[in-house]
């Protein structure tokens, strides 16, 4: 077996028949650890790199396990038939894929060498040299842009956005396909102006055609309780269908192919 297949990484879940994160029917591998701490995060157990305990449906569950690329590949292989029929494949998500670049690159390479389509879901908050190591094996980069105002970005995610926006420009040039995704979070970025600014920026990237707006949801709430943490957006309601449609119109008005949901 080739050496890179033994590369180890830390994941917290593998989810099959995922149909919202890249084309077709996909298997998502969730990598553990993230650079950002978004207030709305629906996977709080993804944030820390450390292996944790979380209460799930009344039972203690260990979150996080160390695996090799070939172990993951074996699981990913199981749905090859469905990838072939749907144009699907493997998506790496997190956490932040770029938090474990060696593992991520090896996983993507293994998939590509076995004829499986690849995607990552990432906010591109990393040194571009690191990002570049993934690109040869990557078909679709699903990149998050959450806000154009750096201060507000920092307030809600704990990080500024300059590096992210800088990397977006480079990815627009280098990535095989770049799709921008924006979570729509009431109290943070759910106005036409804020979404419009992002859309304007995305259009300015030149090569990007698609922008997805993802309505905020509260399905992660239980997990905060399970981790013994407070959920600071507890009182925030998901955006209405009407609002999402208005925001979609804004995105489309910039000549982008907008879409609600992934």
């Amino acid at each position: 077996m080739e050496e890179y297949l033994n590369t180890k990484g830390r994941i917290f879940d593998i989810q099959r028949f995922s149909v919202h994160d890249g084309p077709g029917i996909r298997t998502i591998v969730f990598l553990k650890g993230c650079f950002l701490r978004c207030k709305w995060c629906c996977n709080p157990e993804s944030q820390s790199y450390e292996i944790q305990q979380m209460v799930v449906a009344g039972k203690n569950k260990i979150i996080g396990r160390d695996v090799t690329v070939s172990e993951v590949l074996e699981e990913v292989e199981k749905d090859r038939t469905y990838y072939q029929r749907s144009g699907g494949g493997l998506t790496l998500s997190g956490g932040e894929t770029l938090g474990q670049p060696e593992f991520a690159a090896a996983l993507l390479r293994a998939a590509k060498e076995n004829g499986i389509n690849t995607a990552i879901e990432s906010t591109a908050f990393a040194d571009y040299e690191v990002i570049k190591t993934l690109l040869p094996y990557l078909d679709v980069y699903l990149m998050d842009i959450k806000h154009m105002n750096s201060d507000k970005h920092k307030e809600f995610t704990t990080r500024n956005n300059e590096l992210i926006l800088e990397n977006a420009k480079k990815l627009a040039r280098d990535a095989r396909k770049l799709v921008i995704r924006t979570p729509v979070i009431p109290t943070f970025n759910d106005t036409k102006e804020e979404i419009g600014e992002i859309a304007k920026f995305v259009k300015s990237l030149g090569t990007v055609e698609e922008m997805h707006i993802l309505p905020y949801h509260r399905l992660g709430t239980d997990k905060y309780a399970g981790l013994g943490r407070n959920y600071s957006l507890g009182s925030v309601e998901p955006p209405s269908k009407e609002l999402m449609n208005e925001l979609l119109d804004v995105v489309n008005s910039y000549g982008l192919k907008g879409q609600i949901g992934g």
């Binding site: 028949f17 919202h20 077709g24 629906c42 509260r218 239980d222």
Partner: protein, 842 residues
């Protein structure tokens, strides 16, 4: 590439009105057929049975009241009242006599019955005591087989008490040549007989019976022609007058002659479809490849400019409505198993032609539209899928799936064609297959498949391993030794195999006895004249006149047995965590849990009605006390805790349905314990046994007859549905479930396998949802699954999942890019999703 007319034609008001009228009243039992049948039988005592059958059929058709319902374009009704039913005392009648007073108020499929009807039926039924197929079948069965039936090891209910049905006749022949053509065919065969032939007596009588039956059908259609003419005269409505005059003209011409137009073809088809169900009471009389045999008439009329697509759609819709006008009253227990007044008239579109080309046509699409328009349980609508099925066609079918109606069921040509060929069906015939009833494939017009011959409960057989073949103190199976003394898993496995082989033989004994009874008491000359080679062989279907003869009893409990065997092997023999004695004791005590509430409710009702019958007064408190007494597990608390611990350990083990190689291999292996022995047996018609794997909707009912099983399934709770995983045990999503199920051998189960999947509507939302859905289906079929059908989860289901999370552990919901197991969410989030479902995810 072929292109199709895919526009969705609007539904016309007529269809809405027809459907409304059909469902205005509770369906009613009528006595006309039984009275006429009995009258005829009384006058033909001593004549050959096939002659008596034909004379009775003719007597019924000449005298039964006929009616044309308002707004109908396609006419012919088996009953005066919409969705009414006739009775068939020649098969069995005693169950109905017991239910005269309750049939109108029972929960599943109630029927109104008038005092007058009751009186008439009681009078007719007097004649039938000792003369039914069911009584003859009983006397033909080995006593051990009767024991096994009484102890619910298997249930041959369908054909034991009813006609067989389960056939697709040669509609093409009738449409083309009419019954004059068939009469000529029979007369020619008759002329070829030589009076000195050894079988002259039976052949000549059979052919005479065919001719008599066909002539009766022609006269029957002419009665409708006359009625329509009369009504035309009497109606003041000019438009309706024209319609009735047209009906009169058509019924005067078909089915006597070959059809000359699409409309005539449909009317002719309808007489065949309806009258088959007057001759005998069987269900699953399946129209088959309707889009194929109707297409030439449709196309020719379109080309000639005498038919519009809109009119054609309306006529197809009318046929769909009529298929729901037929009905059947079953006994109260069977009614629960087949709830929904279902007749399983399977109609299938798409697939390959006899030469292996794709056969999808415009009518295939219009049949999907008809199902959307009418939105009723009949026909059981199916779609054939193969590697070259047009994508646009599957996307259109997926749209129908998304409506939540539960249709179409999808069938895989790539499995079914070779599976049929492995049973001796020719390549051309196999390519031309259609589906009977639920999932049973066969070649139309050549097959007597006995597809639904019995339910065989593999879980009950596993119980016998633990009881050394005893049930309720009676030795009904072989003594395979004291299970607590087994020292190896192989001993356990071999005991199961011995029990299986024993009960499979008894199953065959029972079904063959029933087969003989039908041959001797109920040959069906009308049905037989439309199945090859009955006429040239001079034999009815029941005597082996069909070219292909099968018997297909269906096994069920695949998932429970696989999980059970895996659990016993792991916990008792590999890990030595529990002794066999502990395991047995825990099972006998329902793993320390109270007994199933739904089941105890039913028992309570029975107990209460017995008390009331015996003149005792029963208070609300008494009812509650009876219920709690039945429900409560009386084992001591410390024992209960130990049993529950075993259950927890079993629950933690890997289960079938999660793409686990080892457990899935068990499912495949132990399914062979049913499918392999079965194929070595022969039926009286000279055909072979072949297994099906599905419990239809009877998994709840039959689970109620089954104690706790070693997979920690609690006593009297449902067994697994179809070949799918046990409820709530698949937790890795639809692809993992599909992979597990596809690891069964679907080829050897050539009588069909049934795989039900549940979907939340959001999973099918938008064009992308349809695309992914079709990909999932294609993927499952690539892996050689045979059948798949989908239930789209409604908000009611989600509410039920809140109340009974244990049944829905695998239910995935997807909301805006995020997926979660529904039952793992908090109540508030669940409510949120329910409200989204109410808004409709499309």
């Amino acid at each position: 590439m072929k292109t199709f007319y895919t526009e969705k034609i609007e539904k016309r008001d007529r269809i809405t009105r027809l459907v409304e009228d059909l469902y205005k009243k509770m369906p009613e039992i009528e006595a006309d057929r039984a009275a006429l049948l009995t009258e005829s039988y009384k006058s033909t005592e001593g004549e050959p049975i096939v002659t008596r059958r034909a004379k009775a059929f003719a007597h019924i058709l000449d005298n039964i009241p006929i009616t044309i319902r308002d707004n109908e374009l396609i006419v012919g009704s088996a009953t005066k009242t919409p969705r009414g039913c006739q009775t068939f005392p020649e098969f069995s009648f005693e169950w109905l006599e017991k239910e005269y007073d309750t049939v109108a108020t029972r929960v599943a499929d109630p029927f109104y019955i008038s005092e007058e009807t009751k009186k008439s039926l009681i009078e007719s039924n007097k004649y039938w005591k000792g003369k039914t197929t069911s009584e003859l079948a009983t006397s033909y069965m080995d006593p051990k087989a009767l024991d096994a039936i009484n102890h619910n090891m298997y249930t041959p209910g369908n054909y034991f008490y009813n006609g067989v049905g389960h056939v697709t006749v040669d509609y093409v022949k009738v449409l083309k040549y009419g019954y004059v053509g068939i009469i000529k065919e029979a007369e020619d065969a008759r002329a070829k007989l030589d009076v000195s032939d050894s079988d002259f007596a039976t052949r000549s009588h059979f052919l005479d019976a065919v001719i008599m039956s066909c002539k009766a059908v022609i006269r029957y259609a002419k009665r409708y022609s006359a009625l329509a003419a009369k009504e035309a005269k009497n109606t003041p409505d000019v438009a309706r007058k024209a319609e009735l005059e047209n009906i009169s003209r058509i019924c005067d011409y078909v089915p006597e002659h070959g059809a000359t137009s699409f409309r005539e073809a449909l009317q002719s088809f309808w007489f065949v479809q309806m009258l088959l169900q007057v001759e005998s009471s069987g269900h699953s009389i399946s129209p088959g490849r309707f889009d194929q045999y109707m297409f030439p008439y449709y196309k020719s009329d379109l080309d000639k400019g005498i038919l519009t697509r809109e009119d054609a759609q309306e006529l197809i819709d009318c046929i769909w409505v009529k298929l729901n006008d037929l009905n059947k009253c079953r006994d109260c227990v069977s009614a629960e198993g087949f709830a929904g007044y279902s007749l399983f008239q399977n109609l299938i579109v798409g697939g390959q032609d006899v030469n292996g080309n794709d056969a999808t046509n415009d009518l295939s699409f219009m049949c999907i539209t008809a199902t959307e328009h009418v939105f009723l349980p009949q026909p059981s609508f199916s779609v054939r899928v193969w590697n070259s099925s047009p994508h646009s066609f599957l996307i259109r079918a997926a749209e129908l799936t998304r409506t939540g109606i539960g249709f179409p069921a999808y069938y895989n040509d790539e499995v079914i064609i070779p599976a049929l060929m492995s049973r001796g069906v020719s390549l051309e015939d196999a390519r031309d297959y259609n589906i009977i009833g639920c999932v049973e494939p066969q070649k139309a017009s050549k097959t007597e498949g006995w597809h639904d011959a019995a339910f065989f409960n593999m879980c009950r057989v596993l119980e016998m391993v633990f009881s050394s073949g005893k049930d309720k103190g009676v030795q009904i199976g072989p003594d395979t030794g004291d299970v607590t003394k087994f020292t190896t898993y192989e001993e356990f496995e071999s005991a199961y195999e011995t029990q299986m082989n024993y009960f499979i033989k008894l199953l065959v004994n029972s079904i063959n006895a029933i087969d003989y009874a039908h041959k001797e008491r109920c040959p069906l000359p009308f049905e037989s004249c439309m199945v090859d080679d009955c006429i040239s062989r001079g034999k009815s279907i029941q005597e082996g006149g069909a070219i292909y003869n099968f018997t297909g009893p269906q096994g069920f409990g695949v998932a429970n047995v696989a999980d059970a065997m895996w659990a016993v092997k792991t916990l008792v023999f590999d890990q030595h965590k529990y002794t066999m004695a502990e395991y047995k004791e825990a099972m006998e005590n329902n793993f320390g849990e109270d007994y199933d509430a739904h089941y105890c409710e039913k028992l309570t009702k029975v107990a209460v009605s017995k008390l009331v019958e015996s003149g005792k007064s029963v208070s609300e408190d008494d009812i509650a006390n009876i219920f709690y007494a039945l429900r409560k597990n009386n084992a001591p608390e410390d024992k209960k805790a130990a049993y529950k611990k075993l259950k927890l350990d079993i629950d933690e083990l890997p289960k079938y349905g999660n793409d686990n190689e080892e457990v899935d291999a068990f499912a495949r292996k132990y399914t062979y314990y049913y499918t392999r022995p079965l194929e070595s047996f022969k039926n009286p018609r000279g055909g072979q046994y072949q297994a099906g794997l599905y419990p239809v909707s009877a998994n709840v009912l039959l689970g109620g007859q089954t104690g706790a099983t070693p997979d920690a399934r609690l006593a009297f709770t449902p067994v697994a549905d179809g070949v799918g995983p046990a409820a709530g045990r698949d937790t890795k999503g639809p692809t993992a479930t599909c992979n597990s199920v596809s690891k069964l051998d679907h080829y050897i189960a050539s009588n069909g396998t049934l795989f039900n999947m549940k979907f939340h509507p959001t999973a099918l939302a938008g064009r992308q949802g349809l695309e992914n859905f079709v990909s999932l289906l294609r993927g499952y079929f690539d892996r050689k699954g045979s059948h798949m059908q989908f239930n789209v989860v409604s908000r009611e289901t989600l509410r039920d999942a809140q109340a009974h999370p244990e049944k829905y552990r695998s239910l995935v919901v997807r909301v805006a890019g995020y997926s979660a197991l529904f039952t793992s969410l908090s109540r508030a989030l669940q409510n949120d999703i329910i409200s989204r479902t109410e808004q409709g995810g499309f």
